[in-house]
């Protein structure tokens, strides 16, 4: 009886306290989720809309059809998708291999020029490669006169340009992580007769796999969305990446191409979104260690 009256008496106060401690967090959460999510709901709805125009996409889920997705087959969308994946996967893999090798050298060997090299990398990090796009364009014109595959309008040369930025961005991240792998392990292996290459490939790379995954993923994601260099270098529509191609659709005929664009956007967001959500834990670890996604 006593406790019951106390309970009843406390109830309004309790609710206010619940709200001031927990409830408002739910309120904020719901608002934040709506804010973060409504453009995504919109793009899915627009991609399923019948008409395929900007005007006709405003009523959410008024019609559901796969017409826009089917229409993509009649465009260069899948070529662009393939180009983008080729470039992004090659860049991601190359970045990991070259960055890890350099980080290994800086972390494990003591050689003259090591300190200068590390400082130089730190300085180079401050000069974003994309700012030099005019010079890159001019360089590729002259390289293209010599070896056409390394000139403008080639995926290979785009990959090479991206790899040029690989060492500057991520070596430091890896270097720090490599330093946390105890040197005693390598020394033990060396005494057992392993060569430096065996130590690198079979021991150090396995122990540093998490950071390699992070660097590879971040490099994949930022290459996937890179625009300015791809736009300057890739001139024929068949070699465009998604960023260049989809921009072309929206900038030329926004209203008419809206259905195509939204369907393309949903498809091209899927690989990145999936990677991101499945490997969230690793990526977040890498982000807090200092990378920036493009």
């Amino acid at each position: 009886m006593n406790s019951r009256t106390a309970h009843v008496a406390r109830r309004p106060g309790q609710r206010a306290r619940w709200f001031s401690e927990i409830g408002w967090r739910h309120l904020v959460g719901i608002i934040a989720v709506v804010y973060a999510g409504f453009p995504l709901v919109y793009v899915v709805s627009a991609s399923l809309a019948d008409g395929g125009t900007l005007t006709g996409s405003n009523e959410l889920f008024a019609s559901v059809s796969g017409a826009n997705y089917a229409a993509l087959a009649g465009t260069r969308f899948w070529t662009w998708m393939a180009n983008t994946l080729v470039v992004a996967v090659a860049t991601g893999a190359g970045t990991v291999l070259m960055g890890a090798a350099a980080a290994y050298a800086f972390s494990r060997f003591r050689f003259s020029g090591r300190r200068v090299g590390l400082t130089a990398l730190l300085v180079i990090q401050m000069f974003p490669q994309m700012l030099a796009f005019v010079a890159i364009f001019l360089l590729l014109i002259s390289l293209g006169n010599v070896v056409p595959g390394l000139g403008l309008d080639s995926k290979l040369s785009l990959i090479c340009v991206y790899l040029g930025g690989a060492l500057g961005v991520n070596t430091f991240l890896m270097y720090g992580f490599f330093n946390t792998v105890p040197r005693e392990i390598d020394e033990a292996a060396k005494i057992d007769g392993a060569s430096h290459a065996q130590i690198y490939w079979t021991i150090v790379l396995r122990l540093t796999a998490p950071i390699l995954a992070v660097v590879g993923l971040l490099s994949f994601i930022s290459t996937f969305g890179e625009f300015i260099i791809a736009r300057v270098l890739l001139q024929s529509e068949d070699s465009w990446t998604l960023a260049v191609g989809l921009y072309g659709w929206v900038s030329s005929l926004q209203d008419a191409n809206w259905g195509l664009f939204t369907a393309g956007a949903v498809i091209s967001a899927v690989p990145v979104l999936a990677l991101f959500l499945f490997l969230q834990k690793y990526i977040v670890g890498g982000l807090t260690a200092g990378s920036v996604k493009g």
Partner: protein, 522 residues
């Protein structure tokens, strides 16, 4: 005891690893030698020298026992040197030249282009029976001289005598080394045929052979004449003499210049143009201010919202925390270019989702009004960027040392006091380097600006293609003319790039020094 001692580059002998290395180096060498030969053929001495140097270093590094660290650094270093260090240095060089439309090439190429562009058919010049031929895919002409000899050439290959041609009724019917084009094929490539010029000889002053009807060739000679001894151009129709000036153009005594120039060093002219020229200085000043405002406000707004959400979700008693977190970071998992394009549609004035649905049919010019466009850019960047700040703030909050917080509680500090004196300073120390990188990233956030507003709305007081939401990097892009909307000016574009380099590097350097001192205090 019988096996050789292993040291330096590892095992001696033919282990699988050594074989792999051998194959890889052989491949690199083969490609490298091919590139060297190609560079020789194209007479690109710079590329040639760089390739030779790279090949020598690569072979030395992988076969010497003393170059152990270099074995691991070289692959990345080679790309870094060519595609980053070199291009940054080259940007620095171009910034001091007038490279761009009208000044595209070397002086020799400019002279040749001038001579070619001013070629006219001279009255009464000789004509000759002509046949269109092809060497593979390249078109060429074969002509029959009055003495019956046959000469052939293409655009790159001046006319030279060819033996063994069959001539029927004054026309060539077969020619060794070339295919004679059928009439139908000529019609199909009519435009190419009428535009083709086959030089008479290596000397551009001698002119070229051209045709209008694919049956008769005429010699065209230039109305300009270049005299290499005095380094002057003379117009043979008017008699005016042009001499080279300091801007890389041929200039007559009355100040008129010939249209094709060459690139020369112009000192600080490009920087003077950016800061002092009437056309550029005004927009440049506005764009500089807006770039700073955009970068600072973007970092501040995303950080505050991210921090607020991180605090809101940082309570173990909150149910569904993981779901909230996952949903809130979704914008961050979308590639930036898609988000910017998506918002450009949603903010469309007449048909966009924001005006039509959220604001009930309003017609607000989100992307075309100078002030609203800036707000829109900031708003979209807030949507794009707050999840990143949310992630790093959550990480930082969770790794705060609990003992310090407890000590504050024991000392009787209230919630607000703890927050202001303990949590916030520690949080800032942890996140400051990331805020700086975020600033540098937004300072150059080309994708967002270009895809959302394209830099527009345009300034109405400028003859240059710049607008109210342009930031420095998108200004560089417009000025460079690589999008085809304006005259190319690589020199000015590179000078602006250098300005950005300096700003970003200075701020990073200052800020990193400050964070280090912050850490020492903390």
């Amino acid at each position: 005891m019988y096996s050789p001692v292993t040291r330096g580059s590892g095992r001696t002998g033919w282990s699988p690893g050594f074989l792999v290395k051998l194959v890889l180096i052989a491949l690199v060498d083969a490609l490298g030698v091919y590139a060297v030969l190609a560079a020789w053929g194209a007479e690109s001495w710079g590329v040639l020298a760089a390739m030779v140097a790279l090949l020598i270093v690569a072979n030395w590094a992988y076969f010497s026992k003393r170059a152990l660290p270099l074995k691991y650094i070289l692959p990345g270093l080679a790309f870094l040197l060519v595609y980053q260090v070199y291009v940054v240095a080259y940007t620095g060089y171009v910034a001091f030249t007038n490279y761009g439309d009208g000044h595209n090439s070397t002086k020799e190429q400019a002279i040749e282009a001038l001579l070619v562009q001013n070629e006219r058919r001279v009255e009464g010049s000789p004509s000759a029976p002509l046949t269109v031929v092809a060497d593979g895919d390249t078109l060429g002409f074969a002509i029959v001289s009055p003495d019956g000899a046959v000469q052939a050439g293409t655009a790159d290959q001046p006319l030279e005598p060819v033996d063994g041609a069959s001539v029927d009724a004054g026309q060539v019917t077969a020619l060794p080394g070339y295919d004679v084009l059928e009439y139908a094929a000529v019609l199909e490539r009519q435009q190419e045929v009428t535009e083709l010029r086959v030089p008479v000889s290596d000397d551009p002053n001698e002119g070229s052979v051209r045709t209008q009807d694919a049956r008769t060739g005429y010699v065209f000679t230039s109305t300009l004449e270049y005299d290499s001894a005095s380094d002057t151009m003379t117009d043979t129709t008017t008699g005016v003499t042009y001499t080279p000036n300091d801007d890389g153009q041929f200039e007559a005594a009355d100040g008129t210049t010939l249209p094709v120039g060459w690139r020369v060093l112009v000192g600080l002219d490009n920087f003077v143009t950016a800061f002092g020229d009437d056309r550029y200085a005004g927009p440049f000043g506005k764009i500089l201010v807006w770039t700073f405002a955009f970068a600072v406000l973007s970092v501040a707004s995303t950080f505050l919202l991210g921090l607020f959400l991180a605090i809101a979700f940082n309570d173990a008693r909150l149910r569904g925390r993981r779901i909230y977190r996952t949903l809130v970071i979704l914008p961050y998992a979308i590639p930036g270019f898609l988000a910017a394009l998506l918002w450009s549609g949603m903010l469309n004035r007449s048909h966009g989702f924001v005006n039509e649905v959220l604001l009930g049919g309003a017609s607000i010019p989100w992307l075309t009004d100078p002030v609203l466009a800036k707000l829109a850019v900031l708003g979209v960047n807030l949507w794009l960027g707050f999840p990143y700040m949310f992630l790093i703030c959550t990480g930082a909050l969770q790794s705060l040392p609990t003992d310090v917080l407890e000590a504050a509680k024991i000392d009787g500090a209230g919630r607000w006091r703890t927050w202001r004196s303990i949590t916030l300073p520690l949080l800032l120390v942890a996140t400051a380097p990331l805020l700086i990188s975020s600033f540098a990233f937004n300072f150059n956030n080309f994708t967002l600006i270009y895809m959302l507003t394209g830099g527009g709305p345009r300034f109405d007081d400028a003859s240059v293609p710049l607008g109210h939401t342009d930031i420095l990097i998108s200004m560089v892009y417009s000025v460079s003319g690589l999008d085809g909307t304006a005259a190319k000016d690589y020199g000015l574009a590179s000078a602006l790039s250098i300005v950005i380099f300096l700003v970003v590097a200075t701020i990073s350097a200052l800020a990193f020094r400050r964070t280090r001192s912050l850490e020492e205090i903390a």
